[in-house]
């Protein structure tokens, strides 16, 4: 039990609960089934990308192209859905393939040419977004077919399917991190890359797979987002990559690599979603949103660092008789 409270997730979970209770007391509109469903559904694409981002951050990398990759997939899938052979099965396949392509390009450039990931993904961020803007001239793709939007329907009136996807991907990725040698390699590369190489880990392949996997998740996020909105706005979701990174970091992922968990990231996404929603419920102008995000990010990370410093100081003490 003690171990549980020492964990980073516990702190953020407490903030989330306190905030949730405060909002519930302040406004009866917060703790309603419709409102909770909205928070979960509106953040599902972000959550799926945050799963991938967590892996990338654990290896010590970063991917600022996630939002572009998602829109790249969303735009191509929206076009795809009007083709004769489009159906729920082929479109899922298409989402995975599109994401695998964009993610693999990132991964290949970063691992093979050994270029800093922030530079590569800044570049591809612009390229992926540029391609779809050129292709669509920025026009919205409207009225997606009913079978497409059915991907985000609510089953039995209570269970929205996007939430099911998020949970499945969280569990799958948590399993990969904990029980596969790839998962171990992800933590090892982020902890000490030279030691990982000496331990016989194929570092380049691990890095490549991490970005490719994140690409696939972005591809799926594109499908989910299209399906929720019922249309596709190629210029939309601008700047989401920052929210994705923030969610992972708030959830305890070390931006310098080495640590991070799926549970933490899930809580991080929820916390950001509740803050966004809470500001609306509390009738605070949405302009405040960014400012509050910033404060929360700095606050959670600072508390974490302070706690770590104090723990370290404890170890350095010399025994004086």
């Amino acid at each position: 039990m003690n171990r549980l409270f020492e964990r980073r997730e516990a702190g953020v979970l407490c903030i989330l609960l306190v905030l949730g209770i405060a909002l519930a007391v302040y406004s009866p509109a917060f703790l309603t089934q419709v409102n909770i469903k909205n928070i979960l559904v509106n953040n599902s694409a972000l959550a799926i990308m945050a799963v991938g981002m967590t892996l990338v951050l654990i290896t010590g990398g970063i991917d600022v192209s996630v939002a572009s990759q998602m829109m790249f997939s969303a735009t191509l899938l929206a076009e795809f859905s009007f083709l004769p052979f489009a159906n729920p099965f082929t479109i899922v396949l298409a989402a995975i393939v599109i994401g695998a392509v964009t993610g693999s390009i990132n991964g290949l450039l970063i691992s093979h040419f050994n270029i800093d990931p922030i530079i590569i993904t800044l570049g591809t961020n612009s390229i992926y977004r540029g391609i779809i803007l050129v292709y669509t001239s920025g026009r919205w793709i409207m009225n997606l077919p009913g079978w497409f939007t059915a991907f985000s329907k609510t089953v039995g009136g209570v269970l929205p399917l996007p939430v099911v996807y998020v949970v499945l991907l969280l569990v799958l990725t948590a399993y990969i991190l904990r029980y596969t040698s790839f998962g171990r390699a992800v933590y090892a590369c982020g902890g000490n890359v030279e030691a990982a190489r000496r331990a016989g880990i194929n570092v380049n392949r691990t890095i490549f797979r991490t970005y490719a996997y994140t690409g696939v998740l972005c591809g799926i996020a594109g499908l989910v987002q299209d399906s929720i909105l019922g249309n596709c706005q190629p210029a939309g979701s601008n700047g989401w990559e920052m929210n994705v990174i923030a969610a992972a970091v708030i959830g305890g992922t070390n931006i310098l690599g080495g640590s991070g968990t799926m549970a933490g990231t899930a809580i991080g996404v929820l916390l950001m979603g509740v803050i966004e929603n809470g500001l609306v419920v509390a009738h605070v102008p949405t302009y405040w949103q960014k400012l509050v995000y910033g404060v929360i990010i700095i606050m959670t990370v600072t508390i974490d660092i302070l706690r770590k410093n104090r723990a370290d100081a404890g170890h350095q003490l010399i025994e004086i008789d």
Partner: protein, 496 residues
């Protein structure tokens, strides 16, 4: 006593652009032996280790045979599969993972990781070494000595036949070295061979069965340890006989410059009082963790005392920050010159002038490159830094020369008191002797030097006086010319 030879390296050569790091080197390892590999810095030991552990591939024509079969190591994994595990000087572990995770990383190739089995593998490996540790704690929270034990546990859990230990005692205290020796003894009984790389010859004589010597990338010889002594080994290593020359017979000690009165800081040092004189080399020694570095940092404004007084030239001073210490003409050269002393990517000139930027300013307050060059070249020649190219990045110099650059960087501030932490840590004998001589020469100008050192021979060869610390307190002080080495060691280790 010894087993059969199971691993042979023949005609190993390794060419880097412009340099032949290894030239026709031989090495054979017998089952269950402790084999020391020695040579000066740059002799090719590290390259040989990298080849053995599959990190680098030797030139064509090089032969590695295991149990009579020729093998090739394309990567680290091939070497690990063949039963060879290296424990690097930096340990190459993962601070972000638990003890058990560190030990079993790579054990579950391409199958589901079984955490129960992982725990039992870790427990078994630690048990075989007689080490008791909670396998679920984060490795980053352990001391370096304990981390090294984890690195060994990790290696033996892979069913190693050969363990390579690169400078395993470099950051260990005396009692920890004893633990390491007893573990090496246990490994021998399990028929695991150890390739032991060390700068410290007394260690080599104590633990090894055979010794292979490399010099300038060439194989010099392999002998039974029993058939060698200090002198014959050193002459194999350097091609000439070198021992530490006692430099302290001639003393330059003058009047008192610094007096420290009863300074204390909780958890760091307690009740420290001593005096320092012009032209004196005062050594601080004791076990790692005795509070030596913590104490001397107090004089550089880095670890300010909570009580007590510091007097400089008969005046009471406050040393609460580095600028205050610098204004009082005190310089400090840290032990870890990579992390704290040098900016490795910057040129030697930029490193040398970084702490005296004010002195090299020209018109308009901008840096005058001519002045910088002049200043750098002066110190390059005073310290005979090789090569003397001031534009070369610090990382391209050898360990001994990097140490000299670190020293020069603080000499340019023209201090009255120079504090130097482990001045010869990790450099070869020739470079050590040169640094010793340099320190002695500095005292002729009246500079007072405080030297923190773990090496007894160095303390007795170089310093005028030694202070022994234990558990944050001064337990002994004596003159090194007339003093008793054995008594000092007893004080440090046992406190009696």
């Amino acid at each position: 006593m010894h087993g059969d030879t199971f691993l042979r390296l023949d005609h190993i050569s390794m060419t880097f652009p412009g340099i032949k790091a290894l030239d026709d080197v031989h090495l054979d390892i017998r089952e269950g032996e402790v084999h020391a590999l020695i040579g000066e810095n740059g002799a090719g030991k590290s390259t040989l280790i990298k080849i053995l552990s599959g990190v680098q591939q030797p030139d064509p024509g090089s032969q590695i045979t295991i149990d009579g079969r020729q093998v090739q190591f394309q990567n680290a994994n091939d070497s690990i599969q063949a039963g060879i595990n290296a424990i690097y000087q930096d340990l190459s572990l993962f601070p972000n993972l638990t003890v058990a995770e560190n030990i079993t990383l790579g054990q579950f190739k391409n199958k589901k990781i079984d955490w129960k089995e992982s725990d039992s593998i870790a427990a078994e490996a630690l048990g075989r070494m007689g080490v008791r540790l909670d396998p679920h704690q984060l490795l980053g929270n352990l001391s370096v000595a304990k981390q090294q034990l984890i690195a060994i546990a990790r290696a033996i859990s892979f069913h190693s036949r050969l363990l390579i230990m690169d400078e395993p005692t470099a950051s260990l205290s005396f009692s920890e070295v004893e633990t390491l020796y007893s573990i090496i003894e246990k490994l021998k009984q399990e028929n695991i061979a150890v390739l032991f790389i060390s700068h410290k010859l007394d260690e080599v004589f104590q633990v090894s069965d055979r010794i292979t010597v490399l010099r300038d990338g060439k194989f010099i010889g392999c002998e039974d340890t029993a058939r060698l002594d200090n002198n014959s080994l050193v002459s194999m290593m350097v091609g000439r006989s070198v021992t530490y020359i006692a430099l302290n017979a001639q003393s330059n000690v003058g009047e008192k410059i610094l007096e420290v009165k009863n300074i204390s800081k909780k958890g760091n040092y307690k009740d420290i009082s001593f005096a320092l004189h012009k032209g004196e080399i005062l050594a601080f020694t004791g076990l790692v963790g005795a509070g030596r570095s913590e104490t001397v940092k107090a004089l550089f404004g880095l670890n300010t005392p909570e009580s007590g007084e510091i007097w400089l030239d008969g005046k009471k001073v406050e040393l609460r920050s580095v600028p205050q210490a610098l204004r009082n003409k005190i310089a400090f050269i840290p032990e870890d010159r990579h992390a704290e002393g040098l900016v490795l990517n910057m040129s030697m000139r930029d490193n040398l002038t970084i702490s005296v930027l004010r002195n090299i300013l020209g018109r308009g307050g901008l840096i005058d490159n001519n002045k910088a060059d002049e200043l750098s070249e002066r110190y390059v020649s005073i310290l005979s830094i090789r090569p003397s190219q001031i534009e070369k990045p610090a990382k391209d110099f050898s360990g001994g020369n990097q140490q000299k650059i670190a020293i020069a960087k603080w000499l340019v501030t023209e201090p009255d008191i120079l504090i130097i932490d482990e001045p010869t840590h990790g450099v070869d004998i020739a470079a050590k002797t040169e640094i010793h001589k340099l320190l002695k020469d500095l005292t002729k100008t009246g500079m007072a030097i405080i030297m923190v050192s773990s090496e007894w021979q160095e303390v007795f060869a170089v310093s005028d006086r030694v202070i022994v610390m234990r558990h944050g307190r001064i337990v002994h002080e004596e003159n090194t010319v007339t003093g008793n080495q054995e008594l000092m060691m007893k004080k440090a280790i046992l406190g009696v």
